[in-house]
Symmetry: C2
Subunit: 126 residues, 2 copies
């Protein structure tokens, strides 16, 4: 079940705080017509938001999905929240695709990262 674009499997890096993270946790319904297309469109659209930093997504098959979007500041996040096409997608999500969801909007105060030394040159995972 790969709804999301197969970008390289690398988590979004630790940016210099402060920045914002929008944590969106979902349980989906059986009704997924149009979800993949809309989701791909949203992933493209958000890149046009000035201050957008990146997105992490994980989906347990048959379980919870978590999408975390990162933004430089609150203004960038507000702009994304108010995007008309995004709002239409959210509305359809509530009508069809989501059993339940929670959104936590948070200001990152501290961040750190780790990468194994032996693969510091780049990802080798096939």
């Amino acid at each position: 079940m790969s709804d999301h674009s197969d970008a390289a499997v690398v988590p979004v890096q630790a940016y210099e705080p402060p920045y914002y993270a929008a944590v969106f946790t979902t349980v989906r319904t059986q009704e997924q017509d149009g979800y993949a297309e809309t989701n791909a469109r949203m992933e493209e659209l958000v890149k046009d938001i000035p201050g957008y930093l990146g997105m992490d997504h994980a989906q347990t098959p048959g379980g919870i999905g978590i999408t975390v979007s990162y933004f430089r500041d609150a203004d960038a996040l507000t702009r994304w929240r108010d995007d008309l096409e995004h709002r239409a997608a959210q509305k359809r999500g509530r009508a069809e695709w989501y059993q339940s969801y929670t959104l936590h909007v948070a200001k990152v105060e501290r961040s750190s990262g780790f990468t194994r030394a032996e693969v510091a040159q780049g990802p080798t995972e096939g």
Copy 2:
């Protein structure tokens, strides 16, 4: 690949802000001996931290894993960070289980939730 306890599939709810979210995104190595056991132990241990609110976890098979832990305040998060058994697990994670990870510690300023009206009585997903 179900490393995590099979709790009911319900995302952690929207608490009254402010509270803290620790977003931990990982890519794992091929070396996963002991991971499941340690992870289950950590999921139990964190429940003893006063101010712990809950945890969401999603794992894309062969891809990224995201764990978001929620805490009432920064003190609770610090206590979890400094737990000796947790620190030992983190150290082993860097030595064996994680290809790379990022940690974003953030203060939640706004939150909201949605549950489909027709299943408001409780989850029916099998």
